[in-house]
Each structure stands twice: as structure tokens, then as C-alpha cells.
């Protein structure tokens, strides 16, 4: 039986995510949805993502695509597997990613896929400092 399609109840883009030992509580530090850069292209050395799901049950391969507004895939993050025993849990996870390439200003999207099926996208705005 295929796992149910989860709902995404939180998706945060931040500088850092940390998890408290013992309580397993996550904290996202430096939450943002916009980057202002002095020069292009550039590589954002560290981007942390926090994802919280609900209505999920079963095994999920999570894949995140970083796309521009023409649906051009610039980078992919994959290899995360979640096993969720029952819908009573609202699982969450934090991912620290390295070296996100950004070629030019514009609107970009983090697109989430569960078991290869598109779920939802979340925008990231990138602006040119000289044009502000």
C-alpha cells in the first residue's frame, strides 16, 4: 500500500537549525525568505530548512529541488528517508545544506517531493543590492 500524501504545515528557510537533546525540539535561527546580494552569480554557503508534516504515515523519500521561476532545476537535495509509524505523529526535521548556487536575481522555489510526487513549493526572493 502506498503511503498517504502528507500535508506540509511548516517550511522555514533559515541560517541554522538546531535540535535540543532530550526534548528533540527544533529551533530555526535566522529565518529569512529573501537574499540581497552584491554580486552575481554566487554560492550561498549555508541554508537550513525546517519542515514539519502532518497526516503522514509510511515511508517517504524526500527530495527538494531548487528551481528558478522558469522551472529550471539549479540544484537538488535528496537522500532523506522518513519512516512515520502513524498519523498521530507530526514529524519534523531540520536540514542544513551547503553551497546553494544562485546565478542571478529573481524568484526561486524550493520544491518538495515525497516519493517522487510533487507536494508543494516555497519561494525565495533574491535581489540585486545595486538595484534597490
Amino acid at each position: 500500500m502506498l503511503p498517504v500524501e502528507p500535508s506540509i504545515i511548516s517550511f522555514l528557510i533559515s541560517d541554522m537549525v538546531i535540535q535540543e537533546k532530550g526534548t528533540n525540539k527544533w529551533s530555526a535561527i535566522g529565518i529569512f525568505d529573501k537574499i540581497i546580494a552584491i554580486q552575481f552569480p554566487f554560492v550561498q554557503p549555508r541554508v537550513a530548512l525546517y519542515i514539519r508534516l502532518s497526516d503522514a504515515e509510511g515511508d517517504y523519500d524526500i527530495r527538494i529541488e531548487f528551481c528558478d521561476d522558469n522551472d529550471c532545476i539549479l540544484a537538488i537535495f535528496e537522500g532523506i528517508r522518513l519512516s512515520i509509524p502513524s498519523r498521530l505523529h507530526n514529524p519534523d526535521l531540520g536540514i542544513t545544506t551547503l553551497n546553494l548556487p544562485i546565478q542571478k536575481p529573481g524568484k526561486f522555489y524550493f520544491k518538495l517531493f515525497f516519493n517522487g510526487k510533487f507536494a508543494k513549493d516555497f519561494p525565495l526572493i533574491v535581489e540585486d543590492y545595486s538595484k534597490r
Partner: protein, 132 residues
């Protein structure tokens, strides 16, 4: 502009926040989930870096184009085939992304310092080769 941002700044004094006798919270970063975004260059590096003839894989980002550079000591048929095979997979994986792969054959005695300048260094044999 800045005054608006200042409205959202919260100052926390750790000495006042921490209850007397309370243990300092222990936090850790999810190192296991820390990984690079997969880009065409990283994908190629993962596919071919096991070959001892591969010296360097890197990416030069431009605003509308990515140049993937691979430097090898020699170009035997099987290595070239695996590079072009990986290139085809890259075109399928990174839909709509404009990039090409530049293969350079540079004998092992020659320096590649000038050639290997890249925005992202995905693989450098001088760094990753096991020390004997």
C-alpha cells in the same frame, strides 16, 4: 528603513533568562543531515571521481550558464564514455538548466592551478587522494 527592522529586534540577556540552578540546554547540529546541494558538477564528480585519472571537477557559474570543468591525466575510451554517460544523465536530471561539460586532458606532470579556478570545487584529487 532600519528603524522598521529595529522594531523586530528582541534582546535577550542570557543571565536574566536562565533560572538559578537550571542546567544549560544542550544543543547539537544535525551533522548527519548536513550535505551539499547536488549540482551538475557534483553529480559528475560523484560518478567519476573514483577513477584515478580524474584530477579535478569544478563548476564556473555564470548568470545564465554553468560550465562544468573536468581535468583528467589521460582520456581512455572507458573514462570518456563514463563522462558522457554522466553528462546525459545530468541533462535529464537538471531539466532546462543551461550547462556544458568541458573535458581537459592535462598530463600529470603539468600544473593545473590556472585551469582549476572555479566557483565551486567539487573534487580535487590533490586534496582527496589518500595519503600513502
Amino acid at each position: 528603513m532600519l528603524s522598521k527592522i529595529d522594531d523586530n529586534v528582541t534582546l535577550i540577556d542570557p543571565q536574566k533568562e536562565l533560572d538559578k540552578g537550571a542546567e544549560k540546554a544542550e544543543v547539537y547540529q544535525p551533522i548527519l543531515l548536513e550535505a551539499q546541494w547536488q549540482t551538475p558538477g557534483l553529480y559528475l564528480a560523484q560518478k567519476v571521481a573514483g577513477n584515478p585519472l580524474v584530477r579535478f571537477v569544478g563548476e564556473n557559474l555564470q548568470t545564465d550558464f554553468i560550465q562544468v570543468i573536468i581535468i583528467v591525466d589521460d582520456d581512455p575510451e572507458d573514462l570518456v564514455d563514463s563522462i558522457f554517460s554522466a553528462e546525459q544523465e545530468m541533462y535529464n536530471k537538471f531539466k532546462k538548466l543551461r550547462f556544458d561539460v568541458r573535458l581537459r586532458v592535462i598530463p600529470v606532470k603539468e600544473s593545473i592551478e590556472i585551469v582549476k579556478k572555479a566557483t565551486i570545487r567539487n573534487y580535487d584529487r590533490d586534496i582527496f587522494k589518500p595519503k600513502l
